[in-house]
């Protein structure tokens, strides 16, 4: 691809500037059709496309509509959205598009320059569905483009948009903020985040072998499925309860078995983890012990939860752990960068009352272990549909 050229994967002639109300029927039908088409075209059974297809089903979208949309109010999409999607999550751009469409917007999606097979399958499926006559009006609302290092194009797209979804972390957000937008444009910046996992040690020890393995495998999916490099993958484990030592031992050894069996990262991960380990041993003061279970499972135990705690985003199976018997200690490790807490051994009601009482400056999601990577219409602290649409107040 030429440096300056633009490649339209979908909607070269899309006119944009069309709006709908959130969860419009035509979008629900379009996504359901897309779900079926994805299934057919996804011959190689990429698991992330299967997940996407599952997400787009009518049943799921209607469920989302019931949870996230009040049909008594009058809302419409903001207008045109410009989505800058991350370079290393092959299906993320599709979810960003779904957010935009469900909000009732026209969309320009900039996809990463990597040649992901999944991306090709998704674009092909979208094109197949858009060809159908019944979706003719959607042809103007979806444009998917690919280009590299072209500020002129980014500038032009930014100028015609009413909202931008900027994925990809701090650097991308900072870069996009350099381009001027319409005055009323709304940016949703997805900045660098990290996440933690909260485990009740007593409850964990009570699990039988079968259920322990299920939990471990959910934890594995939260983490290793995205090389621990997703913002919502846990980087630190916070243990609570009275049987922490025993619980840790059981947890890490079960996880180690699974990682050795299943995880196959590139060679650089070994150097990354070893280098990180040496960096921590040479620079951190708050470490009580290190354990290297295998090349893809390092556990750094920190001495005491207090203000000196640091959390840095790690990857490839490199974890910190802390323990506490008082959950309000969370305040020491909470800041605006803390996104998700995955948990085990606490009731939803307990957590609801706990988080409503403590005004933590951070934490946008608290979900059971296994749901870290599940994308939802409340994401990164934003109600996506509400943010991407406007309400007409009639009295």
């Amino acid at each position: 691809m030429n440096k300056n050229s633009i490649n339209y994967l979908v909607g070269k002639n899309a006119k944009l500037n069309k709006i709908l109300s959130p969860f419009s029927q035509i979008i629900v039908f379009f996504l359901d059709d897309l779900s079926k088409t994805l299934k057919i075209i996804n011959k190689k059974k990429h698991s992330d496309i299967e997940a996407l297809s599952f997400f787009c089903r009518k049943n799921n979208i209607e469920k989302l509509k019931n949870n996230h949309f009040d049909s008594k109010v009058i809302r419409f999409g903001l207008g045109n959205l410009f989505h800058i999607t991350p370079s290393n999550m092959p299906t993320n751009f599709a979810y960003s598009l779904i957010f935009g469409l469900l909000g009732g917007n026209s969309n320009i999606i900039k996809v990463p320059s990597n040649d992901f097979q999944e991306m090709k399958i998704i674009c092909k499926s979208i094109n197949v569905v858009l060809k159908k006559k019944k979706f003719i009006q959607l042809r103007d609302m979806i444009m998917i483009v690919k280009y590299t290092q072209n500020d002129e194009l980014t500038k032009n797209f930014s100028q015609i948009c009413d909202g931008r979804l900027i994925w990809g972390g701090d650097e991308t957000v900072k870069n996009l903020k350099k381009f001027s937008t319409k005055v009323k444009n709304i940016d949703i910046p997805f900045s660098d985040r990290y996440s933690i996992c909260l485990i009740n040690s007593e409850k964990f020890l009570k699990l039988n072998k079968f259920n322990s393995n299920i939990l471990i495998s959910k934890f594995y999916n939260d983490t290793y499925e995205a090389d621990q490099n997703a913002c919502s993958s846990p980087h630190l484990i916070l243990w609570s309860g009275k049987t922490i030592l025993k619980a840790k031992k059981k947890f890490w050894s079960l996880l180690n078995n699974l990682v050795v069996k299943k995880y196959n990262p590139p060679l650089i991960s070994s150097v990354d983890n070893y280098s990180k380990f040496v960096e921590d041993t040479l620079s951190k003061k708050n470490i009580s012990s290190f354990s290297k279970y295998n090349k893809s499972l390092y556990v750094i135990s920190l001495k005491k939860i207090n203000k000196e705690n640091f959390i840095s985003k790690t990857k490839w199976g490199y974890f910190y752990e802390l323990h506490t018997n008082n959950l309000t200690d969370l305040k020491y490790i909470t800041n605006r960068s803390l996104q998700t807490i995955t948990y085990f051994g606490f009731s939803k009601n307990f957590l609801k009352s706990f988080f409503s009482k403590n005004n933590f400056n951070g934490i946008d999601r608290v979900v059971p272990i296994g749901q870290a990577l599940n994308i939802n219409l409340i994401w990164d602290g934003y109600d996506i549909i509400k943010t991407l649409s406007r309400e007409i107040d009639i009295r």
Partner: protein, 351 residues
Amino acid sequence: MKFLNEIMKSEAYSLNDNKISFQRYINQLTVYHYKRSNLYKKFLNSLKYKPNNDYQIHELPFLPVRSFKQFDLLSVNKRDIYKTLHSSGTTSNLLSKIYLDKANALNQINVLKKIFFKTVVENKLPMIIIDKKNNFDQNSYNATIAAIRGFSIFANDIVYLLDQNNNINYQELNKFLSKNKNRFIIFGLTSNIYLNLIEKIDKNKIDKKKFENSILIHGGGWKKILDKKLNHNDFNSLLSKNFGIQRVINYYGLVEQIGSIFFECKCGYFIPSNFSDIIIRDENLKVCETGEKGMVQLLSLLPTSYPGHSILTEDIGEIINDEKCRCYGDGKRFIIHGRLKSAEIRGCSNV
């Protein structure tokens, strides 16, 4: 340091079994750094490694090269530092910092001389440097300038191919060529040789024939010219086709271990000298079998002012078993397959 004075008397390559003395010296070096660098001591303690003189070479701990970017690792007083070397990274990356005192810098030069005069040519020759003239009087410089400075000691006359604006200085070059009618050395980074000597130079403005007898030495890797999709053989045959250069020698070395570098032998292999060794490690950091690709760990007896005598690089290499190669005696032979790839990670950041 007694043991270093002993080893400095050694030849570059010796046919007798050098392994035992290398092992003894490198263990002494670990003890030496343990006693002098607090950070290095912390590192060994975290590995629960008790330094003594009995470890096998593959049992020695190794610092990842990234540590030299993140920390000031030194085993002498900071006021005794004579030069600081940096990696030639881009500004967005942190740079390595290698701290040299006078003794360490001198040993580097002496060992480089021993190796060079044994493997390349026996005496000084005129030299064309495929770079611009740099100031060597600074307190710190990057790997490229360090390499040029190191190799320039083998020159009895020097011309720099490029002027300060990176244009080819034909006038100076032709002056050099008419003055030095016999054999000369051409030295430069692999990428600079390609970009200037193969791509940029206007062959009508020079007398190509004069290059036929020259020895070309290059190193530093292919990273900057990856898009050219060249391999080692293409590179050599372009030099032979364009200039008739028959003797092209690649070298392999890191800024962390300047001096004890590896020159390619006539069979195309790098061979450790009496001052260096190599171990290839797999994904679990275990030692690879001969013929297995893995990460390169480099050992050198030279680093004394900083604990860089055993490091894990981010290069991929392979020990070769070729019974026909008899260059510089028995011992290990290896090839380098380039760098580890970094951008394969999943996740939601924009890499």
